[in-house]
Amino acid sequence: MSAQKTTVEFNDKVVRQFLLASVIWGAVGMLVGVLIAAQLNFWQLNFSTPWLTWSRIRPLHTNAVIFALVGNMMFAGVYYSTQRLVKARLASDFLSQLHFWGWQAIIVSAALTLPLGLTRGQEYGELIWPINVAVVLIWVVFAVNFFWTLARRREPSLYVAIWFYIATIVTVAMLYIVNHLSIPTSWTHSYSLFGGVQNALVQWWYGHNAVAFFLTTPILGIMYYFLPKAAGRPVYSYRLSVVHFWSLVFVYIWAGPHHLLNTSLPVWLQDLGMTFSLMLWAPSWGGMLNGLLTLRGAWDKVRTDPVLKFFAAGVTFYGMATFEGPLLAIKSVNALAHYTDWIIAHVHGGTLGWNGFMAAGMTYWLIPRLWNKPLYSTALANLHFWIGLVGILLYVGAMWTSGITQGLMLNATTEHGTILTYPNFLDTVNVIRPMMLMRVIGGALYLTGWFMMAYNLWRSVRGAEPVNGTIEVFDEEPSHGAAQGLSVAGWVLNAPVLFCVLGLGFASAWMFGGHFVSIAGLIGTMFCAVVAFSHFEARRKKWGDWYDKLLVSAVPFTVLTFVAVVAGGLIQIIPTVVIHRAANVEDRRQIPYTPLELAGRDLYVREGCYLCHSQMIRTLVPDVLRYGDYSRLGESIYDHPFQWGSKRNGPDLARVGGKYPNVWHLRHLENPRSISSGSNMPNFPWLLANALDVSTMPRKIAVQRQLGVPYPQWTDAEITASIEAQEKAIARDLRDAGAYVAPDREIIALIAYLQQMGHYEKVTPTGTAPTLAD
């Protein structure tokens, strides 16, 4: 039978679309970033407008950069490289277009809803539930298109870049779905399924691994494809890339709790997060060195070629950020750095340096290939690089200085550690103002470079003819390498998988079982390990063959990658979710909010107060001296979503309730500078003008009850009566203090919530959670 040669044309149209979208949305996201950085210096820049206020558009900045800039860039890189690595056109043109337009619709929806204050109140998970559903659907479209293409591949071997893409697709799906589980109260509002520490753990399991599997693994795949192509030589060590992939996938997923160090999170989880974060040093630096060493012998090209310049600097920033991350995950370093600008420096080293520069390098590399026209100006691309680099260094340098300065000041004590050296939080803010200004300049420079790229791109493609890549293939080539891969039975019924399943089963019995089951599990685990090793020694070749076949079998590879990432999540989350119930809380337990306080809390979430104010007093002496007794687990057990926060642009509010009179909060929200001279907090005048919408409260309380908050079976009338009574009491108190506000204004509800913070009840050893009716 003679092999017939045919030409396959790649679907590069969708690559071009995603590439252009990445550049456009990147400019929008960074423009908002520069605006909010400027607002920290000049609070007036919100123009007393709700939808331009820092705390509402900061999520717009983060979501735009993560999901719009990096997301679109990632899809462009994945689709371009995958088609060529597997020698097949994308499986479906329809799914490709659905993916592109669906993703852009999601971005537009986010850009409209976030400034309106429609948010879930969790960082990087702010989008409201209908958009969450759309994200999942479009991600499934992406997954189907990708795996369908793999199934039609003509190259049986899966290059390491494809491994990273597979890990990205399955892990992001898992993280996104679990973290966004909510019960809707309306079309634009929902309460997270998890509360308090459960919510904190799930949120940072998601938040950290969004960085890992959305901002890192796909870009590593892109690095492993585009860097060798640009350098004109294979990756330095393919062996190292294998170690890089598996160790990263196994280790990354465990590190989320390092975002919650020194908080009321159980100590074993904090230790777990810190240990695995430190372990991440090895694979991350392995990958970074592998990238940089790929340029061996090609460094002379870096001098003139902007693509290699961006890649070399991008990979270097990856190394820097992944050195800094584990460093910040050490508890004692974290005590200084957490809640300060040091974390902001770390994040921007990664996003501007690693993601932004890799995106720029890939864009410059793709332009001449996708439009069959030379880049308009190499000199402009080189200028973009230098301006961007200076911008990043100014930004990151300023934030390092700012973070360490403020951290040292906030933690400084005198009189043998019994008195704070700088008791006024604003003293520490005003010291870092020059650094905050430098950040604006650095960000603006980086944005200028990005605009240069957009201009270069526009001039390059203007009048150019888009071209699609092609490849000649033989008709008879196997479509998916089935002959060399594993059959379904083959990848399940074999020694490595069976021993792993058996071992995990015994280990689970050991960890979670009762007395006898636990001992049996321990013996079984040891027995399984010994037998597995003996079997491996006797059938070494078979074990090796299985692994080799795994590398050309997409489905088993995907399933095992999923098992690798799911293990870390389950071990952290399941015990906390199952056990952390009100009945098991020791020491202190939160008192459920009254209906008005709950309404006020929803306003607190709407305005994004958690982005500047934490509600978590850490187990550190300076925190306790400044804010009061350290926070206990039970004190936020009914908080859906939790509001522990991750950054303190202002002081912690966990125990602010009762600290100041109602009128203090009124004046402070109306104009913070009337109370706190030198404050950079924006005015919130609309809270005095807007009437509180109480019509949704019965439904919200019903959902809270479903979530386990011990509310009694109130009627709608009882809820309304409770709200009105508390509103009137606060309004009366304000009037007595000389401030006249109608009882039905939003600010009354927010004051009710703020005044409730820090209130708890003592838990009796045998007591069950009381209800408000009690």
Binding site: Y159, Y238, W246, F512
Partner: protein
């Protein structure tokens, strides 16, 4: 142990076991990667070079300048050898 997982000190065992588990994976994969055959490694590392869309033949300065040879590698054709 399990019912005091929030507060109990004995739960430190989780960290130790998890560390051992991840370390064993790391060692196993490293051993496996080191034992990859040279031909297998060369096959995998050359996969990006088997299919390519070449760059436009020239690059210019600000569109109208003299054309220069494409500095980017012609990445089609035979697999590249290690330099």
């Amino acid at each position: 142990m399990f019912n005091r997982i929030i507060y109990g000190d004995s739960t430190a065992i989780f960290t130790v076991v998890a560390f051992g588990f991840a370390a064993s994976i790391f060692i196993t994969i490293s051993w496996r990667a080191l034992r990859m055959k040279r031909t297998q490694v060369e096959h995998y590392e050359n996969l990006p070079f088997l299919t390519a869309t070449p760059a436009s033949a020239a690059t210019t300065e600000f569109g109208g300048g003299p054309k220069r040879p494409n500095p980017l590698p012609a990445d089609e054709g035979a697999p590249l050898s290690r330099p």
